[in-house]
C-alpha cells in the first residue's frame, strides 16, 4: 500500500531525511525505532503533509497515488492517519464539531451524504467505547485540559472513527502510565484488520509488548540502517543503540 523510495526531506534548509526506503503491505505492523534526532517524527510529518517540511528528493506512493502531491486533508481521506506525539489543543472547537467536520469531509470526498445527527452520535458512542473515552470529554474543546493519557486515547478514538488504511503512531506511548498504555494498545489492536497497516514509532520496546510488530526498522541519521524481525526490538532494549551507531559510523 505504501511505497517510499529514496525520500529526502528538509526543514529550514536542513536535510533531516536522507534517503528513506520503506514498503508497507496491508496487514503488516512495522516498528520504527531509533535514537533521538534520527528523523522518526520528521518521517511521519512528511508522510502526512506538514507544510514546514520540504521533500527534496524521492517519491512516495500510497495505493498507487503520488502521496506527495496530495493536500494533508486528501491524504487523510485516502486513508492515512497520524496519531500525534503531541496532540494539539484547539480551544473553542468542541470535540463533537471537530469530529463531525472531519467525518463529513471524508464522506463528501467519497460523494456520500453527511451522517444524520443520530447516526453520528451513535457512531461516536461506539468508537468511544474502544478506548474507554469519557463521554464528558466529547463536549469539551479538542484536547483542551485533557490529561496526557486522555490525549493519546483521544487520538486512537479519532483513528477508530476515521478507519484509516494506514496508521502512524508517533510515540503514542510517551507520557502514558501503564494502564493508559494498555488501553491505548488494546484499542489499536481492536482496530487491526488484514486490510489495514500500522507504523509504530517508538523509543522503547514497552509498547511493542502490546502491539506486536512484524518488522522492526532502525532509523539513524535520516536513513533506515537496519531492518529485522521483532527480535531486533528486544535486542535494542537490552543493548541500546550504541552498537548500531558504531556499525553505521564505522562503515563510512
Amino acid at each position: 500500500m505504501l511505497e517510499i523510495k529514496n525520500l529526502h526531506a528538509a526543514i529550514d534548509g536542513k536535510e533531516i531525511l536522507k534517503g528513506i526506503n520503506l514498503t508497507v503491505r496491508p496487514g503488516e505492523v512495522h516498528a520504527i525505532m531509533g535514537p533521538n534526532g534520527s528523523g522518526k517524527s520528521t518521517l511521519s510529518s512528511v508522510l502526512t503533509g506538514h507544510p514546514a517540511f520540504t521533500v527534496t528528493e524521492g517519491e512516495v506512493t500510497f495505493y498507487g497515488k503520488n502521496l506527495l502531491e496530495l493536500s494533508a486533508e486528501d491524504r487523510s481521506h485516502e486513508g492515512l492517519f497520524l496519531s500525534f506525539q503531541y496532540p494539539v489543543e484547539i480551544p473553542g472547537v468542541s470535540m463533537v464539531n471537530f469530529m463531525r467536520a472531519a467525518l463529513n469531509a471524508k464522506r463528501k470526498y467519497y460523494n456520500q451524504e453527511p451522517l444524520s445527527a443520530s447516526d453520528f452520535l451513535k457512531l461516536m458512542r461506539e468508537k468511544r467505547a474502544i478506548v474507554q473515552l469519557d463521554n464528558k470529554l466529547a463536549s469539551r474543546s479538542v484536547n483542551e485540559g485533557f490529561s496526557g493519557g486522555e490525549k493519546k486515547r483521544n487520538e486512537i478514538f479519532q483513528m477508530a472513527v476515521l478507519e484509516p488504511r494506514l496508521s502512524i503512531l508517533d510515540e503514542t506511548d510517551s507520557g502514558l502510565d501503564i494502564d493508559a498504555l494498555r488501553i491505548v494498545a488494546e484499542g489499536v489492536n481492536k482496530l487491526k484488520t488484514e486490510n489495514n497497516a500500522t507504523i509504530v514509532i517508538t523509543h522503547y520496546q514497552r509498547l511493542l509488548d502490546y502491539i506486536k510488530p512484524d518488522i522492526v526498522h532502525v532509523l539513524y541519521k535520516g536513513r533506515i540502517v537496519k531492518t529485522a524481525g521483532p527480535e531486533l526490538a528486544l535486542e535494542l532494549e537490552e543493548r541500546g543503540y550504541d552498537w548500531i551507531k558504531e556499525e553505521v559510523d564505522n562503515a563510512k
Binding site: H50, S71, A72, E73, P87, V88, G92, F98, A105
Partner: protein, 453 residues
C-alpha cells in the same frame, strides 16, 4: 471649511424646524452643543486615540438630515411583529432615527417601566428626561456635541426603583433611505436603585446602496445595585459609517454587562466611556469584531475607577481578513482612593490575511496602591499547528481556518449573559464566517425585518 461647519449651517438654517419636531430637554441643550462646536473640527488621524480613524473625512460628505421628520416610508412596526420563539422580546424600532413601537410591545412591561420615543418623553416625562439628558454625554467629544445639536428623537428606557424587567427589551435600528442620510439617534437609559433589565440593540441597513452616517449617543445611568445588560450588534453594510458614543455612570454595587458586536459593517467607530461612581461596582465590557474586505472597525474605551472595591473585566477580540483594518484603544484609570480595585483589560486579535492590519493600544493608569490590575494585547495569526492537526483529520484548510476563527471568538460569546442570545450569536458567527453574507434572518435579534427587503 470643516465637516462640522456644514452641519452648523444646516442647524442655523433649520433650527425652527428642528425644535418644532423635537421637544423639551433635547431643544434646551442645543445652544451649549453649538457653543462646543463653533470653530471646532472632528478628530483626525493622529489625534490622541484616533491613530487610524479620521472622523473629519467621515463627516465630510453632505449627508441629509431629516429635520422635518418626513415619513421616509419605513414603518417597521406596522409591517412586522417579532414571533421568534427562542428570543421573545419587547420590540421597538428606530427607523433612521424615528421611533416606532411594535404592536403589543408594551404589554409585557412591568408597571412603571417606560419605553417610548425620547421626543414624546421629553414632554410627557419631562422630569426624568430633564434630570438625565446630556448629563454624562460629554460635549467635548465633537461627534457627541453634533449629535446633541441635531438629535430630535430616540428612545427612553426608564426602570423604576426595585423593578425587574424579565423580558429583554429589543431595539432594532433600521437605516433605509434612497439618498445619503445621517441618522441622529439618541438613547437615554435610566435604571433606578435595585432595578434590573436587559437590552438588545441591533443595527441593520436595508437599502444597502445608499451611503449612511449612522450616529448615536447613548447615556446609561445605573442606580445602586441595579443590574443591566446592554448588547449592541451591528449588522449593516459596506456603505454604512457608524459613529457611536456610549456613556455609562454606575452607582454603588451596580452590575453592568456591555457588549459591542460588529458583524458586518463599512466603517465603525465605537466609544465607550464608563464612570464607576460608587463602591463595589461590577463592569463587564466585551467587544467582538469580524471584518473582511476593506472594512474598518475602531473601538475606544475609557473606564474610570473612582471608588473602592470596583471590578472591571474588559475583553475585545477581532478577527480581520482581507484588507480589513482594526483598532482598539482602551484606558482604565484608577483614581486615588479607589482601593481594592480589580481591573483587567485584554485585547486579542487575529490577522487572518497578510494585508489585514490591527492597531492596539491597551492602557492602564493607576494612581492608587492597593489594586489588582492587568492589561494586555496580542496580535497573531491562525495557529498553524492547530490548522495542520485539523487538516490531518481531513478537514479542508478553508473550513479549518473558519472553525479556528470562530473558536477564537468563543470566550467573548461565552461572556454573554442572555442564554438565548448566546446560542443565536454562536449560530450567527458560524453562518457569518462560513457564508460571509449578512442576513437579518440569521441575526442574533432574529427580528424578521428583512421580509421587507
Amino acid at each position: 471649511m470643516t465637516a462640522i461647519n456644514q452641519y452648523i449651517e444646516l442647524f442655523k438654517a433649520t433650527r425652527e424646524a428642528i425644535d418644532a419636531h423635537s421637544a423639551g430637554a433635547l431643544n434646551a441643550l442645543r445652544p451649549k452643543a453649538l457653543e462646543a462646536l463653533e470653530g471646532a473640527r472632528m478628530p483626525v488621524k493622529g489625534d490622541e486615540d484616533y491613530e487610524v480613524t479620521d472622523l473629519e473625512e467621515v463627516y465630510a460628505p453632505d449627508y441629509g438630515v431629516n429635520v422635518n421628520r418626513i415619513d421616509l416610508g419605513v414603518n417597521p412596526a406596522e409591517a412586522f411583529h417579532c414571533d421568534v420563539p427562542n428570543l421573545s422580546t419587547c420590540l421597538y424600532f428606530l427607523a433612521n432615527d424615528a421611533f416606532f413601537a411594535a404592536r403589543n410591545s408594551d404589554k409585557n412591561l412591568p408597571e412603571g417601566v417606560i419605553v417610548k420615543s425620547l421626543r414624546r418623553a421629553a414632554v410627557e416625562n419631562a422630569d426624568i428626561v430633564e434630570k438625565y439628558y446630556g448629563q454624562i454625554a460629554s460635549l467635548d467629544c465633537r461627534p457627541t456635541a453634533l449629535n446633541t445639536l441635531l438629535a430630535q428623537d430616540g428612545l427612553l428606557l426608564y426602570v423604576p426603583k426595585g423593578v425587574v424587567v424579565e423580558k429583554p427589551i429589543q431595539l432594532v435600528n433600521i437605516l433605509n433611505s434612497a439618498t445619503p442620510l445621517m441618522a441622529v439617534r439618541r438613547l437615554l437609559i435610566v435604571l433606578e436603585d435595585d432595578a434590573q433589565a436587559r437590552m438588545l440593540v441591533c443595527d441593520h441597513t436595508q437599502n444597502k446602496q445608499t451611503d449612511y452616517l449612522n450616529t448615536q449617543v447613548v447615556e446609561i445611568f445605573a442606580g445602586k445595585r441595579a443590574v443591566f445588560d446592554y448588547y449592541d450588534i451591528e449588522d449593516s453594510s459596506d456603505s454604512t459609517h457608524r459613529v457611536s458614543n456610549i456613556y455609562i455612570r454606575q452607582q454603588e454595587a451596580s452590575n453592568l454587562m456591555v457588549d459591542g458586536i460588529t458583524l458586518t459593517n463599512g466603517f465603525t467607530r465605537n466609544n465607550y466611556v464608563v464612570d464607576l461612581d460608587g463602591d463595589r461596582t461590577e463592569l463587564h465590557l466585551l467587544g467582538m469584531a469580524m471584518a473582511s474586505g476593506r472594512r474598518h472597525v475602531d473601538n475606544h474605551t475609557a473606564v474610570n475607577h473612582r471608588h473602592k472595591y470596583g471590578t472591571t473585566s474588559e475583553l475585545f477580540k477581532y478577527v480581520l481578513d482581507d484588507q480589513a483594518v482594526g483598532s482598539f484603544s482602551g484606558l482604565i484609570k484608577v483614581f486615588p482612593g479607589a482601593d481594592k480595585t480589580e481591573a483587567y483589560q485584554s485585547n486579542k486579535n487575529v490577522c487572518a490575511s497578510p494585508e489585514a492590519r490591527m492597531y492596539s493600544k491597551p492602557q492602564l493608569i493607576i494612581d492608587c496602591d492597593d489594586v489588582k490590575c492587568s492589561h494586555g494585547s496580542s496580535i497573531g495569526q491562525i495557529d498553524q499547528n492547530a490548522l495542520f492537526y485539523m487538516q490531518s483529520r481531513g478537514i479542508p484548510e478553508h473550513e479549518a481556518r473558519l472553525m479556528l476563527m470562530q473558536a477564537f471568538m468563543n470566550d467573548v460569546i461565552a461572556g454573554v449573559r442572555l442564554e438565548s442570545l448566546k446560542d443565536r450569536l454562536r449560530h450567527l458567527v458560524e453562518t457569518h464566517i462560513l457564508g460571509g453574507s449578512s442576513s437579518c434572518q440569521d441575526c442574533a435579534g432574529a427580528c424578521p425585518t428583512t421580509k421587507k427587503d
